[in-house]
Symmetry: C2
Subunit: 221 residues, 2 copies
């Protein structure tokens, strides 16, 4: 399967690229607004994986080219850039599944707060911004980027996945399970996305307020 | 320490009464709108604990009498009855810490959704409804009542706790840790309560949508 990580040069995109590159045979393409930046980051990821004996051959391309041949397109960009990023690749999404991991948050003196857009959640904003025939799946909202990108770190995290399209949801559940240590869970439809996204500021607040806890994910049991 | 569980005749109240009765020496008082119902439930809990060799001496009283001598008063009532319950005991809360575990939710065809009151969260509604000098702490929102009340079940759950009053928060963090298998975590101030409460519909949705999962709690790591 070919996976494009738009905005894959930073944060959650780096972690997903390294994990899929390390744990699977999927073709990974890092996308960016600048081709040169995407290529540079892809080289970095390939070098890190080569050190571990993995020939991942991750490619780097401008976002629209990264999306063009992908089966799954992950919007690993900040919520603020989500709609613009979808607009930039909209013509190249035919037949793809679009994945939204972004969370809208605001910080004040009391910590992090969930700050959803008017449609209810960032995942629903992605669905609203996407072409009508492109299914949108919410996933990977609650992964701490630092630990995800550290291939020496064990994960043992759950990944709640939401979507209205059953086939697209199934594809992304499988892709999440392909990463060692992740358990993918069906958390409902797109209208259930706000509860998944809300978990991210909670994880950040718990890490900030309790000694010895950092880079937190979640396990349901 | 004396703990009153208002609405302690059902749901989360039963579980907390049994767990504190079993695992600690705290004095537990079950409160209800009807003294007879409270006494009947207290008798049930005492009988179950006696079967396990524990003499807990849980008492049952009408809500205002249950609150009167308590150091900690837990509002284990549905969100809908929260303000009325606080009003009924307001004159008896002097020197007490008020604990709010309720979550506002609504269900539709897609599952459970977080449905907070206008002030942002049920915990903040409790704070608004309480007398000014009574500190309010949000805790125990995410405990599955069925497993909590089953003394044969291991928990290993986290309990995010939110409050603006540091002493009251500390008291409730300790009370949560007194229950075997619960780890209490500081999740911030009252303005961070919505993210804690939102986790409950997510847990319900995950349990509903995934085979083999039920009565879920959460562990951060």
């Amino acid at each position: 399967m070919q996976i494009a990580l738009l905005g894959g040069t930073g944060d959650i995109g780096e972690g997903l690229a390294l994990r899929w590159g390390h744990d699977t045979d999927h073709d990974i393409v890092v996308g960016s607004r600048e081709a040169e930046k995407a290529e540079g980051k892809a080289d970095e990821y390939n070098a890190e994986l080569a050190d571990r004996g993995v020939d991942a051959a991750i490619a780097g391309r401008e976002n629209p080219e990264a999306a063009a041949d992908a089966d799954v397109v992950v919007l690993s960009v900040p919520a603020y850039y989500l709609a613009d990023t979808i607009d930039a690749v909209a013509g190249n999404l035919d037949g793809s599944v679009l994945v939204s991991p972004a969370v809208g948050m605001k910080r004040d003196g009391a910590g992090m707060h969930y700050n959803p857009p008017g449609v209810g959640s960032v995942t629903q904003l992605a669905a609203k911004s996407a072409p009508d025939d492109v299914p949108v799946v919410g996933a990977f909202h609650n992964l701490a980027a630092g630990r995800l990108a550290d291939l020496d770190a064990d994960l043992e995290w759950d990944v709640p996945v939401v979507a209205d399209d059953a086939d697209a949801k199934s594809t992304v559940l499988d892709l999440a399970e392909d990463i060692d240590g992740l358990r993918a869970l069906d958390a409902g439809g797109l209208s259930n996305a706000a509860e998944v996204e809300s978990l991210t500021p909670l994880l950040i607040n718990v890490a900030a307020n309790n000694d010895g806890l950092h880079d937190l994910g979640v396990k349901f049991w």
